[in-house]
Amino acid sequence: MILNFLNMSGYGLYIWLSYAFTALSLISLYYVSVKKLNSIKNIEHLYQSEKIEKVSVPAQATKF
């Protein structure tokens, strides 16, 4: 029964290739998009911490 389902009356290769290509393309697109967003979020955090450091350094310097 499972073999019949996979065989799809002899057209299984075309059907499963279509679904596999679709799934692979969409998963890759999603993965790349999430990865890009996470990387830019990290950069933004770095910028923010750099900004805080820039503000705090002169304040500390005045103590010495």
């Binding site: 009356s9 679904y19 393309s25 999603y30 998009s33 890009k36 967003l37 933004e44």
Partner: protein, 232 residues
């Protein structure tokens, strides 16, 4: 006039809605795939190959619809100088590109057992191929041109010029004698396919729409943060 489209609207939407959209997507995709692969009837001419329709047709619709939005956004961005519209277009372009590629590849895989060939340079297939090339050009220009203002202007022009291809794709099956079958579903007439095939088709279309929206919100968020970081 375009106040509702301000960057914060979609940025907040991205923060709050992605989780719920993922749940809706999972549910719709499971139902859609079960209906498409198990319960949908076999076509009397095309046999089981008709199941390719459930990924091919929604992908084609979405790729056309996304380019329509890109074209309109490019027009608004170029004429009214509302920058956020070019950010919408830029975020949507890779999604449209992937769906147009899926449409062409699954169409070829459907074409071989049905027509006896993977490819033919007829009206529908050629115009769809032109859409893929337009998408590639659009995405490439954004990554190739480093000056943001120049990239924005050129891609806006590409988006507007590319709009010409949309009615050509839509009406190619009526204007020319092609291998591709005419549309079974139109906005103006009742669908010519049975409800047992229409239901999985519409559910798969809905799933792909939700997935496109999720990816768009992620990419839009990326573009806004990227813009902010580059400004610093």
């Amino acid at each position: 006039m375009f106040g509702i489209f301000k960057p914060r609207t979609f940025f907040n939407l991205a923060n709050t809605s992605i989780f719920w959209l993922k749940i809706i997507l999972a549910f719709a995709l499971i139902v859609g795939l079960i209906l498409a692969l198990v319960f949908s009837p076999i076509d009397y001419l095309q046999k089981d190959t008709v199941r390719i329709m459930y990924v091919h047709v929604p992908s084609s619709w979405i790729s056309l619809f996304i380019f329509l939005i890109i074209g309109i956004s490019s027009f608004i961005s170029l004429i009214f100088k509302v920058r956020v519209f070019s950010v919408y277009a830029k975020s949507l372009a890779p999604i449209g590109l992937v769906f147009s590629l899926i449409s062409v590849v699954t169409g070829s895989l459907w074409g071989y057992p049905t027509w006896g060939t993977f490819w033919s340079w007829d009206g529908r297939l050629t115009s769809m191929f032109a859409l893929v090339l337009t998408y590639i050009l659009y995405v490439y220009l954004w990554s190739f041109i480093k000056n943001y203002n120049l990239a924005e202007k050129i891609t806006n022009i590409v988006g507007i010029v590319g709009l010409i291809n949309i009615p050509i794709i839509k009406f190619s099956v009526a204007w020319w004698n092609t291998l591709h079958q005419p549309a079974s579903i139109t906005l103006t007439a009742a669908p010519t396919i049975h409800s047992s095939m229409l239901a999985p088709l519409l559910i798969m279309f809905f799933s792909f729409c939700i997935l496109s929206l999720i990816i768009f919100l992620i990419r839009y968020k990326y573009e806004i943060i990227n813009f902010r970081v580059n400004k610093k």
